[in-house]
Amino acid sequence: MFRATMKSLLARKLRLLLSGLAVVLGVMFVSGAFVLTDTLGRSFDAVFSDAYSEVDVNVAAKPKVALSEVEGEQVAAPVPASVVDRVKAVPGVTDVRGVVAADGARLIGSNGKVVTSFGPPQLGENWLGESELLKLREGRAPQADDEIVVNVALAEAAKVKVGDRVGVLTLAPKKEFTLVGVFGYSGGRDSVGGVNEVAFTTPVAQQLMLGKPDVFSNVTAQAAGGTTPEALRDEVARALGADYEVKTGKQLADDASASLKEGLSFFNKILLGFAAVALLVGTFLILNTFSIIVAQRTRELALMRAIGASGRQVIGSVVLEAVAVGLIASVLGLAAGIGVGALLAYLFGKLAGGLTLAGLGVPPAAVIGAFAVGLVITVVAALLPALRASRIPPIAAMQDVATPDRPLTKVTVGGSVVTAIGAGLLFLGLGGHAGDNTLATILGGVLFAFIGVALLTPLISRPVVALLGTIFAWSVPGKLGRLNSGRNPRRTAITAAALMVGIALVTGVTVILDSAKGSISALAEDTIKAELVISGAQAGPRPASFDPAVLEKAAAIPGVQLVDGEYGDMATMNGERTWVAASSNVAALERIFGAKANAGDISRLNPDQMLLSSDTAKSRNLSVGSTVTVQLSRGEARTYTVSGIYESSQLTNPVVLPPQAATDFAIPQPIQGFVQLAPGTSVASVQPQVERLLADSPEVSVADRAAFIKQQTSQLDTPLRMIQILLALAIVIAVLGIINTLALSVLERTRELGLLRAIGLRRAQTMRMITVEAVVISIFGALLGVVVGTGLGAAVVRALKDEGITDLVLPWSQMVTFLVLAAIIGVVAAVLPAIRAARINVLGAIAHD
C-alpha cells in the first residue's frame, strides 16, 4: 500500500508541485519571519553588549514618564553633576564619567536637508575622548563651544567633511558648528547599530540635549581591580539612595536589547499574518487538487477496495500522499524562508545604517514552525478528499460510474451556518463586546466568513457563472468554455474562492483606509480655518518640529490674522498616561479648529490652567475647577486647574496645556503651525514669506490647506501599498490554483477534447475554449472577493463610526481594476493548460482508456 501510494505520487509530480507551491510560500513566510527576527535579535545583542562593554556600572535617574517602545521616545530624567562626585567617593570605582547622550540631534546635510533615521536614535552627546572602542578617524576632538565631531556613517550620510560649517537641530533651533573630526568604532565599524552621533563639548551638550547646565543623562563607572561589577553596583546604589537606577553594563545591554526585540516581534507578527493568508489560500488549493486527484483515481481507488483495501487504508493512502507533499513543501519552504530571512535581515541592516549582522540564525522555532504549518495544513486540506475517497464503492471498479452531481444542500446549509458564525463573531468583535479578545474575535470572524462564503460558492456559482458565461457565448468555443466552467460547481467554486480571499482582503483594507482618508479630509475641510499649515513628514519615531520664533515672525506678516503653533507630548495625568498638547495661541482652538465650549472658558488659558476635551473630562471624571497633577517628560510635576471643557472631535486633542508648559515637553518645539489670513489676503503672497522664515527649520515646510490635508491623509497610502503588495502574494497563489485546476481538467477531458478536435474544432478554438473557462472562473472569484471585501470593509467602517470614520468611501476604480486584473489573470493562467489541450493527439485521445 505504501509503495503504491508513493509510486502514484511520483507519477503526478507536476500537479502536486503546483499545489505544494502554495504551502512552500506560506512556510517560507513563517520560517523567514523567525529567521529574520532571530538574526536581527542576535545582531542587536552583539551591538549592545559591545556598546556597553566599557561600562561596569551605570547610574541613571528614573524617567519622569515611562513609555513603552511603541508609545514614543522616552526621555531620561537628568542626573545632577553632583552625582558624579558622589559616585567617585564610592570605594572601588575608577573612571567615573558624566555622560550626555539623548536622542534628537539632527544634522543638516550638505543638501540642506536633515539626515533622517529609520529607527536607530540620533544621539547628541558630550565628547568623552577616545577609548578602546571609539577612535577618531580624522581631525581632532571638539574644544570650543562651536566645534563638533560626528561618527563616520553620519558624516557620509550628510556628505560633510572635516572643516565644514554644519547646522544641527537639537532642543534648540538650528545652530551652526564647525566639524572638527569624525570618529569610528573598533573593527572598522562606522556606527554602532546604525546610531547617528553628534558629539559636542560637555557644556554645549548639556544645554542643547538636556536643556540645562550641569546635568548628565547618566553617570558611568568602572570597577577597580578586584571588585565585580555586581558588587560595585550594590555599593553605588547604597551610596546614592533610591532616587537613581544603578545597573551593570550587562543589565543595560540586556534591557536595551529586550526593548528592541519587542519592536522586532511586532515585525514578526506582521509576517506571520501574511503567512496565515497565504496558507488559507493554499488550503483551498490543496483541497481542490486532492479532490480532483481523488475523482480521477476513482477507478484505481475502487480497485484497491475491490481487492481488499479497507476504507481506512484508502484514507491512509490519500493522507500519506498529503504528508509527503507537506514534507517536501516544508523543506523547500524552510530553505526559501532562510533565504528570505537572510535577505530581509541584510536589507534591514543596510537601511538601519550598517548594522553588522551576526551569523545567519535558524532558530528551532523556524524549523518546528515550518514543518508544523506545512504538514498540518496539507493534511487538513487533504482530509476531506480522503474521506470522500474512502466512500468510493468497490463496484466503481467494474462500471463507468458517472459521479452523480451530488446535491448542494448539505454544503449550502453548512456554508450558511459557518457564514452566520463568522458574521456573529465580526459583530461581537467590531461592536466592542469581546473585551480583551477583540482582535482574535475579529480575525476569527473574518476566517469563518471566508470559509462560509467558500462553502456557499458552489450554489452562487451556478447563476453567476451562467451569467458571466453569456458574455462569451457568442462563439462555439466560448459557449463550450462557459459550459465547462459551470459543469463542476464545487471545483469552480473552490478555485474561485482561493482568488476571492486575496481580493476580498485587499478590497476590505482599501475600503477601510479610503473611508478613513475620506472622513478625515472631509472633517478637516469643514473645520480647519487656516489657509496655511506648517508641518513636516515624520521619518522615524520622532515628529518633525520647527523654531518657535517662526510663529511670532509669521504673526507679524501683513494680512496674517492668527498664528497657532501646536506642541505635543506623552505625559502622566493624575498617574495615568495620556497625550497632551500645548497651543501657542489658545484662541485658535475656537477660531481655527472650531471647538465649542461645553463648560468654562476655552478662549484663554493662564499658566496654571488647562482645558480638557469632553471625552477626557467624562472618562477621568473631571469638571471645571478640578485640579489635576501633570508630569511632563521633563521638569517637576505641576498642578493645573481645569478652566474649560470643549466638545470632542476627531481633530481636537484630549488635553490642552498653556504654552509655558511646552518647555518641559520631550520636543519643546512646535510640531505643527496654523496660519489664518485676514479676509481678502492672497495665500500666494503670504506663503513665500512664511517659507523664508522656515529656512532654518529644514524638517518642515509650509503648504496651503488642501495640500496639508492631502499630505496628512497620504500617510495612509504607505501602509495601504505595503498591504496590497503582500496580499498580492495571496493572489499569485490563487493564480497557481487556477492553472492547477485547468491543467487537471484538461487531463481529465483528454478524450472529450480529442473528440472535439476530431469533429473539426481548430487548435486556436480549443485554446479559446480553455481561456474562456479560466476567465469565467477568475472573474467570478474576483467578483466574490470584491463583494465580500466591501462587506467586511463596510462592517469595520460602521464599527469605527464613533472613532470618526463617518463616510463610507468605496474604491470603485480599484474594484474595476480588480475585475480587469482577474480577466488578465484568467488569460495568463489558461496559457499552459490551453497549449496542452491544443497539443492533444486526436487519435491517441479517442483511443485513450
Binding site: L10, R305, I307, A309, G311, D849
Partner: protein, 255 residues
C-alpha cells in the same frame, strides 16, 4: 427456476432467493427476481444472458460489491448479506478475487507489484511456492519488471489473473475477462483460468456474453429478465449458442 446441480460438493458461493430492485415508483427496475444458485468449489461456472438480463448484477451481489434487496448470499461459510464495511473488506481480502474487463492494473506499479498488491494491502507475505506456481502458470516471469503500459492486452489480463490467484481466494469473480481481448489472447486467458480450476482446484465464476468463452466453463447458468432460466453442464460453444438462441426469442417478446 432453481439451479440444483452440484449438491455433492460444498458450495463456494450461494445465492438464496436474491432480489435486487433499483429505484422506486415508476423508475423502479427489478434486476434480479428471486435468484437461487450454488457455485460449487473447484469448478468453473459461467453466467450468461443477454444485455440487461441481470448477470452482472448477480455477480456483484454474490461478490458483496452490491447489496441485495431481499434474500441471502453466502461465500463459503460467511453470510455476505448484512455485513458492514469492515466485514466486506475482510471478505474481499480473504475470500474473493476479481478479474475485470478493463484489467484495472495500477499504471504506476510493475507487473510484479500489481500481482502482490492484494497481499501487501492485507499486510501478508506471499507463499513463495504458490507465487512461483502462479507466475509460471501465467507465463510472465520474463515480464515481471514491466509496467502495464509496456504489456499487451493479453499479458495485462494475465497479470490481473495472477493478482486474483495469488491470494488463493475462496472464489474468483471474472467480469467479461475476455471482453477487451482479441480471440487469441482471449483463448490464452481462458485456458489459463480453466487450468487453474483443474490443476489447483480454484473456484471461478465468470460473467460473459461470448459463447466461445462460456464453453471453457464446466457449467453455464443462463439468466434472462433477472431469473435463472436454464443451465448447461460440460458445455460446448454450439450448445451454448443454441440455448442462447432459444432464450432470445421469448426475451424479445417479453420486452
Amino acid at each position: 427456476m432453481t439451479a440444483t446441480v452440484g449438491r455433492q460438493a460444498q458450495a463456494a458461493a450461494r445465492a438464496s432467493d436474491v432480489w435486487k430492485v433499483y429505484g422506486s415508483g415508476e423508475a423502479q427496475v427489478i434486476a434480479l427476481r428471486g435468484v437461487s444458485a450454488e457455485f460449487e468449489r473447484g469448478r468453473f461456472t459461467a453466467i450468461m444472458g443477454p444485455s440487461g438480463s441481470g448477470k452482472s448484477t448477480l455477480m456483484h451481489c454474490l461478490a458483496g460489491l452490491d447489496s441485495v434487496t431481499r434474500g441471502t448470499v453466502m461465500i463459503g461459510d460467511t453470510t455476505v448479506t448484512g455485513l458492514g464495511d469492515a466485514g466486506l473488506t475482510k471478505l474481499r481480502r480473504d475470500k474473493v478475487g476479481f478479474i475485470f474487463q478493463q484489467f484495472n492494473l495500477l499504471p504506476t506499479l510493475t507487473a510484479q507489484e500489481n500481482i502482490l498488491l492484494p497481499l501487501s494491502i492485507a499486510g501478508r507475505k506471499p507463499d513463495p511456492a504458490w507465487y512461483d506456481t502462479v507466475i509460471d502458470t501465467v507465463g510472465l516471469r520474463e515480464r515481471l519488471g514491466h509496467r502495464p503500459a509496456q504489456l499487451s492486452g493479453g499479458q495485462q489480463q494475465r497479470v490481473a489473473c495472477a493478482r486474483a490467484l495469488v491470494s488463493r481466494p475462496e472464489v474468483i469473480f471474472a467480469d467479461e475477462p475476455t471482453g477487451n481481448l482479441d480471440s487469441r489472447s482471449g483463448a490464452e486467458v481462458l485456458n489459463f483460468l480453466r487450468n487453474s480450476v483443474r490443476e489447483h482446484g480454484q473456484t471461478i465464476v465468470m460473467v460473459t456474453h461470448d459463447p466461445t468463452a462460456a464453453a471453457y466453463a464446466d457449467r453455464v447458468v443462463f439468466l434472462a429478465d433477472g431469473q435463472i432460466v436454464s443451465e448447461l453442464i460440460e458445455p460446448t460453444a454450439d450448445t451454448v449458442l443454441d440455448t442462447m438462441k432459444k432464450l432470445d426469442a421469448p426475451a424479445e417478446v417479453g420486452s
